[in-house]
Symmetry: D2
Subunit: 419 residues, 4 copies
């Protein structure tokens, strides 16, 4: 299997969260061909524990598109409705611990650049799905996972390897459903990783600081429309409620317990100039350095939403569509990863983590927490690559030489722990 | 009794709502001297039905001041605690209907002008109580009432005359307590009147259009203070709740059922720059052409207050401190009054009412409504006088020649109805 | 020409404001066939004076659709870009005044009902353009205009008849551009009319009260996006600015000069939970009984928009997309129309106007005002028809018998004034 | 001089910022009696660089009260208008560096407890000025400064001692005016200190972490009043502008550059329910870990104030009434102070600083910065004392045994640096 052409294939067919039918189908086929036991569909994730699942219509449209673009019909039949997680398991010759690696597969709703200096455009593997793009390196992550799968198919180790291919990391929506299904329960060591994140090619971090607890939600306000000229008093104005909520959510105080973030990222409501708006929708997120503070932010946001609605005699509903918690990397694994990186060609700068930390969020946090709760260890590593444009940007790209050396590094790490 | 010097005496000692101890004491003494049956104190008003009663401290201070300034101790002892209504009743030689006149007695918290061209200053009867002033002609109203009382003391009529001297018209706080006590229950004809209101000397209106229903209230928000630097999240910010309420109260929609008005006239809260504010107070009023719409406005204001408080986890309380309803003058009385005015010297322009109507409010409305509910009739008349400055202004004044002709007019009206 | 089948043809092909290519093409052809001088395209309206013109893309798509559905290519070539007004002029045998009638042609973005009891569905003339519908009777208005055109083609009158077929009445966007082009400058008498408006079949009003001055506008706020977790302070939040504007626009005070209305009917902004929103759009309208007060409302709305934007360091733009003024119907024409209605079969109840007035708006107001400014007269008449559902509703319909009697009435009116 | 009875005397006559006439007069007299060169009045501070100076009326009243309570008339004549800083300078027998100590003298507007278990009540030195109290230990600070002055009056050292007695530390209003006058320009070593701050008796910190940059301001909004019923549209509503500002100031985003704080601590406006409010006042503060971010917060607050005012066509004014910057204690001085504390009886726990830092603010920061800019060193020390109630609380008190050991410690520090 060629890691680079595999990555380019994924890049060409970007699929967003819970619609990774084609990508997951390819992963199943390859893991199977390498001799792995493969778990997927409803066996690999708990359906009700997913968050922000697309509409039936979107799921079906994506399903059909995947079929047209070469997904295996028998395999994806089992993934219907957005059950797009895949777990590959392979046992070594001897007994030993279980080492897991996690790879995310989903793309983003970003229109990829057509500029002639954009490498995927130049080389002919730009996104075929207009308006969607692998702009966060998950195509590379998945390809690395498959490269690692092939290497470990020799079974020359003591213990078990578990490769977790996750849907819907964007919006932190998918990982928890895999944890909930019990897929992490037997894992002793868990490694998650990301390419890029402002770390240059050749640099490697054995862990990470500062992933924030976060909750993403959608609030719906339901009022009553009426004619704005003839009977304004008969309406119940959903936009007045929503605007009040928006301002007051932003006015939630700073916390002395540490950094917090709050954003109302989307507000949409109303239909016409002369109609009292009967519906409004808001997309909101909270973040904090601690789960506890994030829960308090969430409680306050919900309270503001509830009373902003009631103030205008509106009905309302809040849907949680994404959630992540902070990550505390296990010190032993950070050091082990650093030691292996130092011996892997291509890594010239090896650090435990960026002191300044991150302000992003990752749902791998649920996986690492579960492993640690069971007495295991986990870490979230950063593998540097120069990037021509920031993550989530139309011109985002990675340097492909990072792919093979990442495979090599993960392979070393796995074998080190499995004697 | 000299009407003009009586008015000047009241002008010199202005007493605001429910503190009219000295004024009411003089009224009691004079009515008594004219042979009237006099009802006052708790017999004349229902204590619990008063609104916006001053604090115990203010009541006591005013009481003592009245004592010093010549109020009759025995009389005002009965008025202690703000029971400052006085009703004078006199029966004619023969049986007949009951005709009532209402006069308001209270002054305003306005500092009277010391300008040399201000007539009360010039003539030496400027307010002795600094910061308080008869700036709405109630001194004149009360003097007219006493002048009328003297005239009717001859009992040369058939029926009963009832003269109602009311406290606390300003803020529409007193009339309802007199109605509630049953004082209007036997009245067949009720005449209320006001001097001025932009109607020139010599003009008279037999009725009025457009007094609005209104409610005045005070809202209190109770939060928790905390240090704004050290632990902002521990506070519950009363000012954020109040500012949210203020904006949203002003955003209550227009009503297609007719004119409405809403105002948050006062907002006060907080103690220092570095303290999360724990308390805020708002003074609010609603107005509308109909009682029903005013009730709906009040319901919405209360709902907004309640949810603005709850949004910030504040306790809150709403006190109603004043209330009036619209006035529908009885057509027959308008005409009767006009007919008498035409025959009274000094009235050169006689109209039923101002077409453009008023946007003010009057708690005489409760009295008129009660009389009309019982099958009687009522009206609210305007007696013109030129004024050098608007009502409630430090240089407000009336032309004193209006006083005697008003006495004469009311006398004619009474005798007309009592044969 | 059959008025009913002409109405059904227009109903089947509903075209919204400035895209009435097929409708206007049919109007041109028929007027031409009746011997009228026909003015259309840029000769009939001032392009820059139109408001709320659709995008180039929408215009082109509608143009092509009209071609497919039988519009005359040569005629609509002249209407390209949304120049869809048509004026038909015919001179009588003798000299005399100019009498004009105005008919509006545009449909609405409403999806027509498919219920089996919906008359157009039953009779097979339901809208062919899904999502668009004649739900305000303009199909009937246009058919009446053509029926009248045919009647008057006998030229048995003294003077000139001018039939004005107007685009884009919905949103009050089209009339002013025809006025601006001078099309009303020679008119002595102008009659505008509407079917329905809650007036039953058989009833007729010679005039109308209470059309409000109105302005419709779209406000755009342009900020800067940034990552809500990593660098919230680098963003300039368009939604915070828009929510502030929305609340404060609704808090604009009542006016003592008469009824006002204000509505923010649409607010949309932002892209994702984790992005500081960089763009927001609001659709707003003001209404008032007077042009002057409406201008003051508009000034205050613009001021609030401007400072809400600047408060968040946003750029902004306000587009006026619709505008109307009040209508003062000429008393003489009201009476003339009533007199003729009384003599027209089918009108059993004839009134000058509804006392309670309207709270709607009409851009025919600009036409009537221009005629009156030049010393002419104008009126806006209501022709009753029962309707199974309100205007703008998916099941709106008219009773077709109203069409011929309307033609007859307008014919009588025209001939009365032209001797 | 007895330090404890001196402290009790100051406690009994608490004077708030820039009214410390009696206190400063006593300081001048004592320093003079110890042989110090004494600078005070306009020679000791730059009048225009003071912030939040009380009104003329308050200054005069306090001045007269001080006279009555024993202030030296000649001395305080020079302090008239709030020039209440005092600097004492004494040269040792030999040349050497200049070592300065800073003591703050002002009290707080807090009503002191009358509880029988409140030590100053029990011992008869409770505040004589009702509503004012030394609730932040500045009485102790000043007494320590005078104790130190007496000790160092032996001149047995090499160099110069400068004792700075500062007005108006509360509200961070006074220090900058002393810096601006050049009083710190010749200082090589500066020691500031505070009693208490949650550090127990016996503990000592040689420095402090985390004093925040802060700005305190008062915003005034000036509108136009009008009658809320008769002509609401003629008003320009200061409270609507202020409430809008308040909400939006609280909605200023978090900064990724570090902790920030924002508070609107006071909002007051309006006069009566039926009047459109013409004036409103807000008291606001910002805080941040860096001067730069605090300046950016201030810029945004001012921008919001400006546009909230303009949105309602209000005039406005922003007064800066207090300002402080972060403190970076010089490491050498922290260690020197710790070394001396370890040798001073009574200090059993000696630390460099509290790791968790402070979120308070101190205008000694300007003094320390000036000394450091000139190549000198400065630190802010904490001297522990148990307290029965928090700082600024009516029952705040210190343990008086801390006073003498503080004098001893400062004396050791001075002599250490002056050989």
């Amino acid at each position: 299997m060629d890691v680079i052409s595999t990555r380019r294939d994924f890049h060409r067919y970007p699929e967003v969260g819970f619609t990774e039918f084609r990508t997951a189908s390819k992963v199943v086929e390859l893991l199977d061909s390498f001799g792995y036991q493969v778990i997927y569909g409803p066996d690999a994730l708990e359906g009700n524990a997913r968050q922000g699942v697309p509409s039936e219509e979107v799921l079906e449209k994506s399903f059909n598109r995947a079929l047209e673009d070469g997904a295996n019909p028998e395999i994806i039949e089992k993934m219907k409705g957005g059950y797009t997680a895949v777990i590959g398991i392979i046992k070594g010759k001897e007994d030993g611990p279980t080492v897991a690696f996690r790879f995310d597969m989903d793309a983003l709703p970003v229109r990829e650049s057509t500029d002639s200096d954009h490498f995927p455009q130049m080389e002919g593997f730009r996104s075929k799905y207009e308006g969607y793009m692998h702009a966060c390196a998950h195509d590379g992550h998945t390809a690395i996972g498959l490269g690692l799968a092939e290497k470990l198919s020799d079974r020359q180790f003591a213990g078990t390897v578990k490769l977790i291919f996750q849907p819907a990391e964007e919006g932190v929506r998918g990982a928890y459903s895999i944890v909930k299904k019990g897929m992490l329960d037997d894992v002793n060591y868990l490694f998650c990783q990301h390419l890029g994140t402002n770390v240059p090619l050749g640099e490697f971090h054995g862990g990470s600081l500062g992933f924030l607890a976060t909750t993403k939600m959608v609030a719906h306000f339901y009022g009553i429309s009426s004619h704005a000229g003839a009977s304004p008093e008969e309406g119940r104005n959903a936009l007045l409620g929503a605007a009040t909520a928006l301002l007051n959510i932003h006015a939630i105080p700073r916390f002395s317990s540490g950094s917090t973030r709050i954003n109302v990222g989307v507000l949409e409501g109303g239909t016409a100039a002369n109609i009292i708006p009967e519906y409004a929708k808001m997309v909101i997120e909270t973040r904090s350095v601690s789960e506890e503070t994030n829960e308090e932010l969430l409680r306050r946001v919900k309270n503001i939403l509830s009373h902003s609605a009631a103030m205008y005699e509106l009905q309302h509903k809040v849907e949680i569509v994404g959630k992540a918690i902070p990550i505390n990397c296990s010190q032993d694994l950070i050091e082990l990863a650093m030691a292996e990186a130092k011996q892997t060609e291509g890594f010239t700068s090896v650090k435990p983590y960026e002191e300044s930390g991150s302000t992003g969020s990752e749902d791998a946090s649920f996986m690492i927490k579960r492993v640690q709760e069971n007495g295991g260890q986990g870490t979230y590593m950063i593998i540097g690559t120069d990037i021509p444009a920031p993550h989530h940007h139309p011109k985002f790209d990675i340097q492909e030489e990072v792919l093979l050396r990442s495979v090599e590094l993960l392979n070393r790490i796995a074998r080190k722990l499995l004697k």
